[in-house]
């Protein structure tokens, strides 16, 4: 049996399954090495809590497939014959010009709703089309004159507020989803906010005429 203490590296490798009989019998008898082994197991347990993270929404997959299909379309266009490619460039160029014009125009949304101007709360001016594209896991459920009500995941809510720089006082989170959890003693403790829970919130907006 091994008499001297194991190194941290040896105990760490042992915890990953690199076991030898020598180490096993040493750990059974040596309180010091066994305590380190136990701490390493707890550290690994702590780190491996990340394994609970999951992507909940199929919209994540849909967005990837949308981007991939867009790439394919672009590639197909690339292999058009030269004359057709030249014509395509003209079309593409005019498209870009139009897009640029639309950005300074009054209405650029796909659904004919006006530009949403957050200027009284932030410097952002965003079209409703752009806003919709920011909501991969969410949707606008109500669209009145001065308020938008949106439903999405909590993490998307946070991302949207950050992206639009909307301060706390100009947003209203209607359903907050603090979790109630139990600790190892069975007591109820206050939990955090589940980033994947769906929440409903409203944002004040000003519509540009």
């Amino acid at each position: 049996m091994r008499n001297e203490h194991m190194t941290f590296g040896e105990i760490s490798a042992y915890s990953d399954g690199h076991k030898t009989d020598d180490f096993s019998s040493h750990l059974k008898k040596c309180a010091k090495c066994s305590a380190v082994f136990s701490e390493i197991k707890k550290t690994k347990k702590f780190t491996s809590s990340l394994k609970t993270l999951q992507i909940e929404s199929d919209l994540f997959d849909a967005e990837i497939m949308r981007r991939i299909n867009k790439r394919r379309l672009f590639k197909k266009r690339h292999i058009l014959p030269l004359s057709a490619a030249a014509a395509f460039l003209v079309i593409l160029f005019s498209g870009l010009v139009n897009e640029d014009n639309e950005k300074v125009g009054t209405d650029i949304s796909v659904n004919n709703s006006p530009i949403l101007d957050y200027s009284h709360v932030t410097d952002e001016v965003v079209s409703s089309g752009e806003l919709k594209s920011m909501l991969t896991a969410g949707k606008i459920i109500s669209d009145s004159d001065d308020t938008l009500i949106i439903e999405s995941t909590y993490s998307e809510y946070k991302a949207l507020m950050k992206r639009l720089s909307i301060p706390e006082e100009n947003r209203y989170l209607k359903s907050f989803n603090a979790m109630h959890l139990s600790n190892d003693k069975g007591d109820t403790v206050k939990g955090g906010t589940d980033p994947y829970k769906r929440v409903v919130y409203s944002i004040k907006v000003v519509r540009e005429k």
């Binding site: 701490e39 702590f46 906010t193």
Partner: protein, 190 residues
Amino acid sequence: MTEKSDLEIIESVVKGKVNDYALLVKRYRDKIFRYVCGYCGSEEDAMEISQDILVAAYASLSKFRGEAKFSTWLFSIMINHCRNHIRKKGRIKKISISDLYDDSGADYEIPDLRGSVEEDLVTSETYKAAMAELLNLPDDYREAVILCDVEEMSYDDISEALSISMSNVKIRIHRGREMLRKRLSDRGYV
């Protein structure tokens, strides 16, 4: 019906059945997301970066030769992508566990890990604390620790994914783990 293997799906995608790629996305999205969360420290950024990784992997799929496991090849792309992200973004902000709970207005208690190792008490608070602590590790150590403890990869696969020797893999994992253990021990978590 048996599930298609990674290689069968890749073959089908390369032959033109592009929508089959969704099967690979579904199979690997969570693993990628977890790594990115642990490496970059932000769930919000991680969603976007994970999508970028899976789109980048699709773009390079025809270059996959099958010499390594697909998962190892995909993880190499993931690792490089995360490194580039951090490089572009500048150094990430190091945060301590106590800084974690200031932004939502809620008052939190961090779950007590002592004595709970044998139980499956893993809460969102635990993984947030884990993300924060991982951010305090040097990048090299953080990569190795996440691949080993979160992705449960073997030393061999980590060596291939990171393109480093086996002895370097061991050094990075053990040193990273030791740093984590000390920090957690100072806070009374282990």
